[in-house]
Amino acid sequence: MKTKTLIRLATQSIRKNKMRATLTMLGIIIGVAAVIVMVAVGYGARTRIDEQINNLGTNMIVITPGAAQQAGVSQGAQAFPNLSLKDVDKIRGESQYISAVSPVIVSRTPVIGAAGNWRTTINGVDTDYATIRDWQTTSGDFFGADDVQSNRKVAVLGNTVAQNLFPGQDPIGTDVQIRNAIFKVVGVLSVKGQTASGSDSDDVVLIPYTTATQTLSGRTFIPQILASTANGQDIPAAQDEIRTLLRESHKIQGNNDDFTVRNQADLAAAAESSTKVMTLLLAAIASISLLVGGIGIMNIMLVSVTERTREIGIRMAIGARGSDVLTQFLVESIVMGVAGGIVGLVLGYAGAEIVGHFTGWATVISPIIMLISVIFSGAVGVFFGYYPARKAAALNPIQALRYE
């Protein structure tokens, strides 16, 4: 028989049992839809995270206090105020690879401006911060080295803060109040967008770290040091170098570091691990669904073979070979698999679009993935349809004709 005839026959007999066929295909539909959403969302999330990590800066290295042990018990990250301005100076003075370094002294407090107040993050940083984060100003300028040295009360506003405190106007030259001190706005930063953890990177005010320790925290503890190298190849060497320098200054022997040195790739890996869990979960759902769907097809095909025993007998009596019957049933289960795959593809596409719409991720569905998922659902049809089809082909025409 011609392929066209076979497919026509298969679709005919599937259409005779629409409800049953639809329910049978459901497993495949859900499986393929899950695969499509999984791939699309996974791709979208990864692209987004890469973007955000690159957005952090170029060749950035992050040093945080952490993992100190006290009497043999690890106290976890940031348990101790281990990093100090001395460390910053040491890195700046002795490192060969590091070209820019800045402490980051974080505090959260309301800022009062022309249009009211706004609670935000105040980061006390050095001038190198702009270089490390690769962050330009859209208006005004970053504060200079003399501002840092003389503890001047100057502030650079993040875009979100500027929008909220000075809607529709240029805040350069005006004053903002942070705690009890009046700061002069010298610059407004360009828009960076969301961070990998979902918070707004533009919701920030930058002030000299010297001013920050003096006016805001009064502490010398530094929660974070950012550094960067002039070129990307130097990053691993720079990390090793920083470790050596800090061990020296913290008088650490062996493997008991009380600080953590990470680069952007490490941050990306950490951020991706959560999406990896989600992707794995969806992959598990997809494969279980495809398996169950396949078993469903097998089950229905077995029922169908029994129901249509007489039909098989008729076909054999008028000259169908065993292989003709085998092909007929196999094509039927393949058509069911592929049809389920196509419906799943459409639903998965819609699902990915919806997820993309709400998360703002660029969900991308490549044609190759579409092709693979349809071929795979056809393969599920072949795999689970073969046994029932072979059973049909092995029927004895005399007994099949007599079957009631």
């Binding site: 000259g319 292989s323 004709l401």
Partner: protein
């Protein structure tokens, strides 16, 4: 011209464990082209076994069977399927049409299983199976029922569709197994009239039945009992089904 059927010393033995059942014991039978043979017998006589072997649905345990000059005993399953497809047209008691499939598609079916590369066409073009099926349905008087499904047809009409399906491949032999078993008397006689008409056009027919009333429309009666042919003789007072059909109507009107 070769006999359509040439059977010599045909034996069929079923063995179930230590038990041996002799369904057929040394059958000799020859059927010439254009004959209309009724095979009669009670249930258990072996007529169904004989019919299955003649129809190439089953293989004999011993003996020789030539169908249309071709030795068919000892052929494998696929070769037998091809023989059934090309040389035999089946008509069954239960009509055995594919449900929810139009009449014309039912009739088309045997042609779809024909694997011969030329498929009987002389000019090398593909056969128009749909047109051939429609022609066969016209031949049995159902030219206006092409797209009807079996459930929309009466029993007699369904059997006509089955006869059209048997005719469409122009087989050497039509094998009808109790074709009137599910039909009322009037319709039975009408179907027999169609068989007689086809036989007059030169088609060889073997009819398996247990009803003597139906067997009288054949030209020759072969009676099987206990796996042997007990009687093989021409029908003496052969009846015309077309006449009976009319006569029956008149009787009912009166």
């Amino acid at each position: 011209m070769d006999n359509v059927i040439q059977v010599e010393q045909l034996v069929k033995t079923y063995s179930s464990g230590t038990n041996e059942v002799h369904a057929l014991r040394a059958i000799d039978l020859a059927v010439a082209p254009g004959e209309f043979v009724a095979i009669m017998g009670t249930s258990g006589s072996g007529k169904s076994t004989l019919m299955n072997i003649l129809g190439c649905l089953d293989t004999p345990t011993g003996g020789a069977y030539l169908l249309d000059g071709v030795r068919v005993d000892g052929l494998d399953k696929n070769a037998l399927a091809a023989i059934r497809n090309q040389k035999i047209g089946f008509v069954f008691q239960g009509f055995n049409l594919l449900p929810r499939t139009s009449a014309v598609e039912n009739v088309e079916l045997p042609m779809l299983y024909d694997r011969r590369p030329d498929k009987g066409s002389r000019d090398g073009r593909k056969r128009d199976t749909h047109a051939l099926a429609a022609k066969a349905l016209e031949r049995v008087g159902l030219g206006d029922r092409l797209e009807h499904q079996p459930s929309e047809l009466s029993g007699g009409q369904q059997q006509r569709v089955a006869i059209a399906r048997a005719l469409v491949t122009e087989p050497a032999l039509i094998l009808a197994d109790e074709p009137t078993g599910n039909l009322d008397t009037q319709t039975s006689i009408e179907v027999m009239a169609l068989f007689q008409e086809l036989n007059e056009q030169g088609i060889t027919i073997i009819l398996v039945t247990h009803e003597p009333d139906i067997a009288v429309y054949a030209k020759r009666i072969v009676e099987v009992r206990d796996g042997r042919i007990r009687r093989d003789e021409p029908v003496r007072n052969r009846r015309s089904a077309a006449y009976d059909s009319k006569h029956l109507e008149e009787k009912e009107v009166a």
